[in-house]
Each structure stands twice: as C-alpha cells, then as structure tokens.
C-alpha cells in the first residue's frame, strides 16, 4: 500500500512538472498545444540514450542536456506561433507531435524502434544512487519547488503582467509596446523545457522509454490535466496531474477496466466545458476575484462623491 502511494506521488509530481508551464500557455495565450507529450518523450529518451550508452546517469548532467534539447525543440515547434494561432496551431501541434514521435520510432539506432530502450542503469546525483521510491521523491520535490518558484517569479515580474494583459487584449498590449507573439513563444519554450525535465525524471524512475507512450493520447491527457485543474492558476495543474495521473491506479484498485481512464477524462472535459470553464482551481480563484471586484466597486462608489467635490 505504501508503495502504491509513493508511486502515485511520484507520478503526480512528475506530471505536475510536465504540465505546469503548459498551463501558462493555455491560460494566457489561449493556445491549445497537443504536442506536449512529444517533448516529454524527447526528455525521456535523452535520459534513456545517455544512460543506456553509459555516457552518464547523473541527473545533474542529463537534466541540463534535456533542457537544451527540449528548449531547442520547443523553439522550433513554437516559432510557427508567430504566424499561426487558434485552430491552426492546434493542428500544427498535432502534426509536430506525430512527426517527432514517428521520427523517433523510425530512428531505430537511437531509440531502439517501437519497443524503445529499457534496462539501463538507475539515475544518480554526484555518485548518490537514486534507487528507492523515497529517494525519488527527495529528488522530485526540490525540482518541483524550483520550477514552481520560477513560474511564480515570472508571473510576478513584468513578463507575467504582460501575460495577464495579453489574455485580455492583444491590441492594447501592442499599443503599450509589447508584442504578444514573443510572449507566447516564450511561455511555450518554458513549458517545453519543463516537460523535457519531467521526461528525464519519468524515465529514470521507470527504467524504460518506449515511443508509443508519448503519443497523441498522452498529449491529450496532459492538456486535460491543465484544463480540468484550471489553466489560470498554478495550483490547477497540480490538481489535474494528481487526479488524472493516478487515475489508472485507483481504477486498478477497484478492478475497473483501463478504458475507464478515458471515459472519466472525457466526461471531466465535458463537465469543464459546460460548468467549470476555469477548471477546478477556477472555482476558488473566481470566487476570490469576484470578492475583490465587489469590495472595490463598493469602495469606489462611496469615495467618488467626495473626490468629485474637490476638483
């Protein structure tokens, strides 16, 4: 039992890292990205290849390498955002997803073909071998905190302010001297980089990397985590990742069909569209926001007359 809980925790933390940045992309630029699993997969294979070829299994080396590869890959797949938006980018991202993973499958000398790579050495950090589940959690938590900290920092800084503005009105943003496209590509690359890091962690934990695990349905699952949890808040992806990544385990416990995962995900998305456009986390934030608006407009209306008298 404790083992299962640890595994669930590891899964949810890993997926949280993978979709955290994606929530900024979806939430502020309203771009649906259906290629997140491909970057996640490329991160996975970065570890798998480096480890299985005995280059290194040290996460302090593999993770930076994955950041560079994932970042560059996201830059390539994100640059079309300068020209394409909306539905066009949904389709483009699906095409990228397909091309990247199919390319990986076909590149057998590196990826091992459809079965992928497996049975390589477990990860380490400066000679410390990471083997037990608890070890993994010790590694995951600081990385997660660092990633979350960076995102919170970005949101607090001028860049984040521009993101909030972009979600409302791109023309007014441009009138203030900020180009929306650059902002979009920026968060997109950030999101991809985090997914690649998560991919490294995922594979170093599972000890297998198979291209089939990073297909379109995995990308849909990842964006569902963001949408169900709520894309406008940073806590949203955690809720989504915790629930959806552990779902197969819960279903397994009660002996339900594996297909139930898809059914539940589908139904949740439908519920979100009909009742919770801002996801589960949106429930709380919209309440706080409404309160703040309400308070302020009350203040404003009571202050107005005296100010008017002055001028």
């Amino acid at each position: 039992m404790i083992y299962i809980i640890q595994t669930i925790v590891i899964y949810s933390l890993t997926y949280s890292i993978a979709v955290m940045g994606l929530s900024l992309v979806v939430g502020y630029s309203q771009i649906f990205v259906l290629s997140q699993a491909a970057v996640f997969g490329v991160g996975s294979f970065t570890y798998a290849v480096m480890s299985s070829r005995n280059i290194t299994s040290d996460l302090l080396i593999v993770i930076p390498v994955a950041i560079v590869i994932g970042g560059l890959l996201s830059l390539v797949t994100g640059l079309p955002l300068f020209r394409l938006g909306g539905d066009y980018y949904i389709v483009a991202s699906l095409a990228f997803q397909y091309v990247i993973i199919q390319g990986l499958v076909n590149w057998t000398s590196v990826s091992g073909g459809p079965p992928g790579l497996f049975g390589f050495s477990s990860p380490s950090i400066l000679g410390w071998n990471i083997t037990s589940n608890m070890d993994f959690i010790y590694v995951l938590v600081p990385i997660l905190v660092l990633a979350l900290g960076s995102l919170l920092w970005v949101r607090r800084m001028p860049y984040g302010r521009a993101l909030v503005a972009m979600a409302d009105d791109e023309a007014a943003l441009a009138a203030g001297g900020v180009k929306a496209d650059s902002l979009r590509v920026g968060v997109f690359v950030l999101a991809g980089t985090l997914a690649a890091v998560a991919g490294v962690l995922f594979t170093s934990f599972l000890n297998v990397a198979s291209p089939g695990d990073y297909g379109i349905s995995e990308s849909i699952l990842m964006i569902s985590m963001v949408l169900v949890g709520g894309s406008r808040s940073l806590i949203g992806p955690f809720i989504g990742a915790l629930f959806l990544s552990s779902l197969p385990y819960w279903l397994n416990l009660v002996n339900w069909s594996v297909y139930m995962t898809g059914v539940v995900t589908g139904v949740l998305l439908l519920l979100v569209a009909f009742f919770l456009p801002d996801g589960v986390a949106g429930l709380a934030t919209s309440w706080v926001h409404r309160r703040r608006m309400h308070e302020q407009s009350r203040q404003a209306s009571s202050v107005e007359p005296s100010l008017g008298g002055q001028s």
Partner: protein, 291 residues
C-alpha cells in the same frame, strides 16, 4: 506505366482523404467549430453497423444503415453538445474542450465495447482488379474517385444555388451576428453536422473496405481531414480537394520510393511547410483580420 500506377493509386487514396476533408470542411467552414470529435463520431456509426455484417450483400445494407446513423449522430452532436454550449455563450476555446472531451470519451468506449482488433469489410468483388492497359484498377477505386468528385461538386452546387446554400452562406459570413436567426439557424447548422458526418462516414467506410481500421483510426482521420482543410484554405472546397489529391499522391510516392515508415512523416512535414508559407491555406477564402 509504373509511375502512372503510383499516380492513380495516389489519386484514389487522395479521393478518400478528400471525402474525410469534405465533411470536416462543411462543418468547420460553416460553424467555425473545430470539431475534433469528427472522426470519433463517424467511428461510432461505423462500429455500430459493422457489428451487423461485414460481408456479402448484407454488408451493403449495413453501410446504408450506417449512413442514416451517421446523419442522426451528426445532428445529435450539434443538438446536445454544441448548440447548448453556444447558448451558454461559451467562447470557441471552451467549445473545443467539449469536442476534445467527446473524442476522448468515444475513444475509450468503442475499444471497450468492441475489441481493439483490426476490422475490415470483406467484399472481394469490390477489390477485384481489372486492367486498363497495364494499370490495375478496382471497382472500389472507381467508386472512391467518382464518389468524392460527385459529392464535392454537388455540395458546391447546393451551397452556390439552393436556398439552403444561401442561408448557409449567410450564417458563414457572419457567424456571431447570425443573419439567419432562431430555430431556422439551428436547423441549418444541425443539417450541416448531419451531412458533414455522413460524408465523412462514406470516406471511412471506403477505407474499411480497402484496408482495415482499428478503434484508434478516429484520431488520424480527424487530423488528416483537419490538415487538408486548413492546408487548402478553410471553407474552400477546391483548395481542400487539391490538397487531398496531392496528399494521396505524395504519400503513395513516398511509401514506394522512401519507405512506408517515413511516408506519413513526409506528408505531415509537407503540411507544416505549406501552412507556414501560406498561413491562410492554398486558396484563401477568409479575409485577414484587422484592428
């Protein structure tokens, strides 16, 4: 001769893709709803009728029934999913989420109920080739090419000349304001979904007759349809027809001269290059948005 055969095979494949795209184009071009569950809904109709019969003359009855079912399912999806969401005033991204949800749901339910094994109509007479010179052609090939051509032309004529077509264009040119209002509008959009789904069903059925399908076919079916429509220029029947044929030819050529593994990668990359060079698609029918 050999090249001609590759070209013909490519045109056949392209014609089937053309049907996939035609249905999607009708829906997307009219409603601007990115119906990502398009292939999934069609797949439901297909699996419902393939459980009736896969071979012999009853198979043709099954296809007929499937056509009716896909009409009904298309209208149903509009009536219980998109129309209520529009009424709730949900913006397009949220409507996309609903569509994604429906696709995910269907993708789990169909392989759950039916087995995830490949499935195919077994109709030997349709696949028996005859030779024109040295070119091998099957009756199904003829049906695919003729079917997509006839359906595209009739749809084009209907949109251009009929009263239904006029109202449809009125809705298209102004989706938000909707110069055709109320129940009439719902009826037209409902039919658009019904007809679009049925056209897509014909394409998928032909694919099932010439090769086989599995319950994950819906994703690639929708994706190919969407790529062709956007690549050809959303709302442009001519553009998407040309792109579909080119798609089939490139894919067949690449399968033969490069490898089957890389063929679809090559076509997908070609699509990405196309929309990066011409973001509005081959034949632009939408004016660029300004301030």
């Amino acid at each position: 001769m050999y090249y001609l055969q590759v070209l013909i095979n490519g045109l056949v494949t392209g014609s089937i893709y053309g049907l996939a795209a035609l249905g999607f184009n009708l829906i997307y071009g009219t409603t601007k709803i990115f119906h990502v569950a398009y292939g999934s809904v069609i797949m439901v109709a297909l699996y419902l009728v393939t459980s009736i019969s896969l071979t012999g003359s009853t198979a043709y009855w099954a296809v007929g029934a499937g056509l009716l079912i896909s009409l009904a399912l298309g209208a149903l999806v509009y009536a219980i999913l998109y129309a209520p969401l529009e009424k709730l005033g949900r913006p397009r991204p949220i409507i996309f989420i609903a569509s994604l949800g429906l696709a995910t749901l269907i993708e789990a339910v169909i392989p759950w109920i039916y087995s995830p094994q490949p499935l195919s109509f077994y109709l030997p007479s349709l696949n028996t080739v005859f030779f024109v010179g040295h070119i091998a052609i099957s009756p199904l090939d003829v049906a695919a090419v003729a079917g997509s051509l006839v359906l595209s032309l009739s749809l084009w004529a209907i949109i251009k000349w009929s009263k239904f077509g006029r109202q449809l264009r009125a809705i298209t040119s102004n989706v938000e304001l909707g110069s055709v209002m109320g129940a009439r509008r719902g009826l037209i959009l409902g039919s658009v979904f019904a007809i679009g789904t049925a056209i897509g069903f014909i394409g998928l059925t032909m694919q099932t007759m010439s090769s086989s399908v599995t319950p994950v076919i819906d994703v690639s079916y929708t994706l190919i349809a969407a790529m062709i429509v956007l690549g050809g220029g959303a709302g442009s029947l001519v553009g998407s027809y040309v792109v579909a044929l080119a798609w089939g030819v490139i894919q067949n050529g690449a399968t033969l001269w490069v490898s089957a593994d890389w063929a679809s990668v090559i076509v997908y990359v070609a699509f990405l290059v196309l929309i990066l060079i011409r973001p509005v698609g081959l034949v632009s029918s939408i004016s660029k948005r300004t301030l």
